[in-house]
Every structure is written in structure tokens, then in C-alpha cells.
């Protein structure tokens, strides 16, 4: 393990141990938060009992749907917008201000339009994620050099083949940055939406547990989301690093 990795591990372990200590000596009382070791034990019990599996399955399935549609639509839109400059000039102000608008503010409208089912929740996850994919795809495509575009023409590739075989692979590290953000935004969108407009899912279960002072359910669920989201993000970061190293960029 490198020295830096050691520092990072020590930092995280230190923070968890400090939290454990503060909980044990009573600086943080039990009604506010159980010690981390207790949260971990509760999570283990919860996973063994299997009571939360339907909620977890529902949330994860919706995250996967929001994420994959956002990546597919974002890539296609990125390629199209890159190709037609007029479209880009029209959309640029929208993209520039997009993340200044809280998508959650539209939740009453989404409920009116789509009811209380999964659709509005997935839509919020999708809307948060898709623009990050589009913007990062555009950023990557902008960096494809003119000589590679000429090379595509020398190989007599059509528009679709040029996108699939030259421009997107060339832009891959930047596209992957967008994909990474899409994972995070899909989680934020889905779980946030479950808090306010759902009767199922992990987000709903957390808020239900909170309203019932059920710390033995609430904290393990928060920990679970933390672990899953961080694990997916770390895996993608690792892949990103592999791609960058191949190109001599660390």
C-alpha cells in the first residue's frame, strides 16, 4: 500500500473511532445516534432478516433505470448536439443554468402528470443525471483532434461508425466522468424523490424510521446507501484511472 493510501485509511478509521468514542462516553446520546459498531451490527441483522430486501430491490432497480436511460440518452444527445452547432448554441444557456434549478421543486407537477408510481421518481433521477452526461460527452468530443476526424474520413467511416469507433472512444475518459456523476445523481434523485413522493423504497423507509424514532433501522439504511454508492463510484474511478494511464495521463 502506498503512503498516501495509508494516510487516507488512517483518516477514515480515525473519524469512525472518534465517532464511536463520542457515542460511547455519551457526548452524542443514543437517541441521536447509536455508535458505528452498533449501526454495523444492526445492518447485519437487517440483511439477515431480509425485511428490507423489497425496498432495496425497488430503489436499486429505479436507480439502474434512471442511470442507464440517462447515460444512453446523454450519449446520443451529446453526439447529436456536437454535430449540429445551431442546436448547441440554442441549448448552451440551458446547460449553463441547469444545475441552478432544483429539480425537486417540480415534484408536485410530476405527481400531477405521472401519479404516485415509480415514473416521477425515475424521472427526477434521470433529469438530474442526463445533463451531466451530455455536458461531459460534449467536453470530450470537443477534444477530439481534427487529424483524427480526417483519419476517420480516410478510413471512409460514416457518421455513426465515426461516433462509435473514433469520437466516443477518444472521448471515453471524459464520458466516464459524466457516467460517474450520473451514478451519484441517479442515487440522489431516486432516494430524494422517495423521501417526498413514495410509499416504498429505501428513501421512504429511512423517513418512516425517522418519524418513528427507529434508529436501529434508519442508520443501517443510511450506511447501506453510503456503501453502495461509494463502491460503484470507486469502481468507475478505477476504470477511469486505467483509461487515463493508457494515454500517459495520471
Amino acid at each position: 500500500m502506498t503512503r498516501v493510501a495509508c494516510y487516507r485509511l488512517v483518516l477514515v478509521l480515525g473519524a469512525v473511532l472518534l465517532l464511536e468514542l463520542l457515542c460511547r462516553v455519551g457526548v452524542i446520546d443514543r437517541l441521536t445516534m447509536p455508535p458505528p459498531s452498533q449501526i454495523l451490527a444492526d445492518l447485519w441483522l437487517m440483511l439477515r432478516a431480509g425485511t428490507m430486501y423489497p425496498a432495496m430491490a425497488k430503489t436499486l432497480a429505479n436507480v439502474v433505470i434512471a442511470f442507464s436511460t440517462a447515460v444512453a440518452a446523454g450519449l446520443a444527445a451529446g453526439v447529436a448536439i456536437h454535430r449540429w452547432n445551431a442546436l448547441r448554441l440554442g441549448l448552451d444557456p440551458l446547460f449553463a443554468t441547469y444545475y441552478a434549478v432544483p429539480v425537486f421543486a417540480f415534484y408536485p407537477l410530476l405527481i400531477i402528470l405521472f401519479g404516485l408510481g415509480d415514473t416521477p421518481q425515475i424521472l427526477i433521477g434521470f433529469m438530474l443525471a442526463v445533463v451531466a452526461v451530455i455536458m461531459n460527452t460534449l467536453n470530450g468530443l470537443d477534444r477530439v483532434s481534427r487529424v483524427l476526424m480526417k483519419t476517420a474520413r480516410i478510413h471512409r467511416l460514416g457518421s455513426l461508425a465515426t461516433a462509435l469507433k473514433i469520437t466516443l472512444p477518444c472521448a471515453a475518459p471524459y464520458v466516464l466522468t459524466g457516467v460517474k456523476l450520473a451514478v451519484a445523481y441517479a442515487f440522489i434523485g431516486i432516494i430524494g424523490a422517495e423521501f417526498i413522493m413514495s410509499r416504498t423504497g429505501i428513501g421512504y423507509e429511512i423517513s418512516f424510521a425517522y418519524n418513528n424514532f427507529d434508529n436501529a433501522t434508519m442508520y443501517p439504511l443510511i450506511l447501506l446507501i453510503l456503501v453502495v454508492s461509494t463502491a460503484v463510484n470507486t469502481a468507475l474511478s478505477h476504470w477511469e484511472k486505467v483509461l487515463m494511464r493508457r494515454r500517459g495521463q495520471v
Binding site: 477518444c170 483509461l243 493508457r246 494515454r247
Partner: protein, 271 residues
């Protein structure tokens, strides 16, 4: 052996400026030129004279404003014809593919079978001295080796016309001489027609059978110099007495044009 492989008649290229004012830049021509089957033809000229524009037109990467271009008897008009390979000055390696996959790219595109493809890639790797780097990524290679990858990627497709746009421009002088030797060997082995665009007079004098000297913008062919080198030749001819004569003659034609390109007067008779 002297029938025209590429044929240009009164070719011009006029660009519209991008500022929307509708101003036009006359970049090239009129140029009339014949490339003979299997010859090595070089084009030299002052910077900005439209050399690369000429190559883009012959490659089919852009369209002539007027005039006609034929390759093997068929008109070229804005599409890259089959049988033409191009190597650019800039690094055109695909950074996400290994050296072997870079070289195999065009073969995959042409749906060449796996056995044949692997054989041809292995041959190209050998020929360009890249056999030990088949699994390396371009970022791990030097500039000269990356340019060899690009040349190999072009050669495996066995083009009948090879267009080279200052392919050694980014390399140091020694590497350029050695790459020139390799290029001559490949040209002899493949029997392809080669068009080399360069600003280096010595490079043109050493490599080409005939050298077209271009004027400053709008580029026209001022003169065609024949080198009379034997087909079997290498970089050692730079020590030959007639090598100096050829470069001297090229420079006499070009000096005035180069000064014009710099926006200066000719300053009396050329030395």
C-alpha cells in the same frame, strides 16, 4: 510506366472566410499536374502556400472550387477513394488502442478475415521495427515511433496512392533521415505512387523522383525539378554532388516566393 495515375487540371480552391463578411481567400491554383504510376513526387513551397490544401483535394477530404481531379481515371469530388492512404504531420494514432490494434484498424473496417489480418499486422510491425511494441499504447512510444504506427496503419491497407503531409515535420533531423530511408524502401517494395508534401528542401531532394515547386499563395506549380536518382537509393545520396545542385536549384526558385510569403520585397537578384 509513365501513364498518369493522378491527374489534376486547372484545380483551384477558394475559401470563404468564417466571419460571415463573405470575403474570399484564394488558397490554391490553378494547378495542373500529372503523377505518374509508381513515382515518388514531392511538393515544396513556402509556408501557407496551399500545399496541404492540395493534398486534401487529392485525398478527397475537400472539394475543388473549380477544375477536375482524377485518380485511376475516376473523378475525385469530396469523397476519399478506395486505394488512397494518407499520413499526416500531427499524431493521428488512436490513443485508446494498442499499437497492433491501431495498425489493424483499417483491416477490421474492411472486414478482412482474422488470419489474414493478423498476418498483415505482424508483417507491418516487423517492417516498421515495432514488433516489440505490439501490445504497447501510443502514449508509451516516442514521436518517431508513433509516426511509424501511423505509416504502418496506412501501409497494411496496401494503398496504390500514398499521400504524406509533412509526415516527419515533428521529428528531429537524424530520425527524419532514417525515416526517409524506410520510406524509400517501402515505396520500392510496394510499387505505390507517393506524393510527399514538405517544407524541407533536402527531404524533397533526397526522396523524390520529381519535385514540384509551389509559389506563395495562391499556390501554383512554378517548376518541376527532376532528380534522376536511381530507384535503388538511400539517405547516403545527401553526400552526392548533384544533391547540392538540386537543393540549390530548389532554393533559387523558392527564395523569391518565400520572401513574398513573409511579406517582404525580393531585395535584388537571388544569390
Amino acid at each position: 510506366m509513365s501513364r498518369a495515375h493522378v491527374f489534376l487540371r486547372d484545380v483551384t480552391r477558394i475559401f470563404k472566410t468564417a466571419d460571415g463578411a463573405g470575403r474570399e481567400v484564394h488558397a490554391l491554383g490553378p494547378v495542373s499536374l500529372e503523377l505518374r504510376q509508381g513515382e515518388f513526387f514531392a511538393v515544396v513551397g513556402p509556408s501557407g502556400c496551399g500545399k496541404s490544401t492540395l493534398l486534401d483535394l487529392i485525398a478527397g477530404l475537400s472539394r475543388a472550387t473549380s477544375g477536375s481531379i482524377e485518380f485511376e481515371g475516376r473523378a475525385i469530388a469530396g469523397d476519399v477513394p478506395e486505394g488512397v492512404g494518407v499520413v499526416f504531420q500531427e499524431d493521428a494514432c488512436f490513443p485508446w488502442l494498442t499499437v497492433a490494434d491501431n495498425i489493424a484498424f483499417g483491416l477490421r473496417q474492411a472486414r478482412i478475415g482474422t488470419d489474414d489480418r493478423e498476418r498483415r499486422v505482424a508483417h507491418a510491425l516487423d517492417l516498421m521495427g515495432l514488433a516489440d511494441f505490439a501490445a504497447a499504447y501510443p502514449a508509451q512510444l516516442s514521436g518517431g515511433m508513433r509516426q511509424r504506427v501511423c505509416i504502418a496503419r496506412t501501409l497494411v491497407l496496401q494503398p496504390r496512392l500514398i499521400l504524406l503531409d509533412e509526415p516527419f515535420g515533428a521529428l528531429d533531423q537524424q530520425t527524419r533521415l532514417l525515416m526517409g530511408d524506410e520510406l524509400l524502401r517501402l515505396w520500392r517494395d510496394t510499387g505505390a505512387t507517393v506524393l510527399l508534401i514538405t517544407h524541407a528542401l533536402d527531404e524533397a531532394a533526397m526522396l523524390a523522383d520529381r519535385i514540384g515547386v509551389m509559389s506563395s499563395r495562391p499556390g501554383r506549380i512554378l517548376e518541376i525539378v527532376e532528380t534522376h536518382w536511381p530507384r535503388e537509393r538511400d539517405s547516403r545520396i545527401v553526400a552526392d554532388a548533384s544533391f547540392g545542385e538540386i537543393t540549390g536549384r530548389l532554393w533559387r526558385s523558392l527564395r523569391t516566393e518565400s520572401l513574398k510569403a513573409l511579406g517582404k520585397s525580393t531585395g535584388g537578384t537571388p544569390a
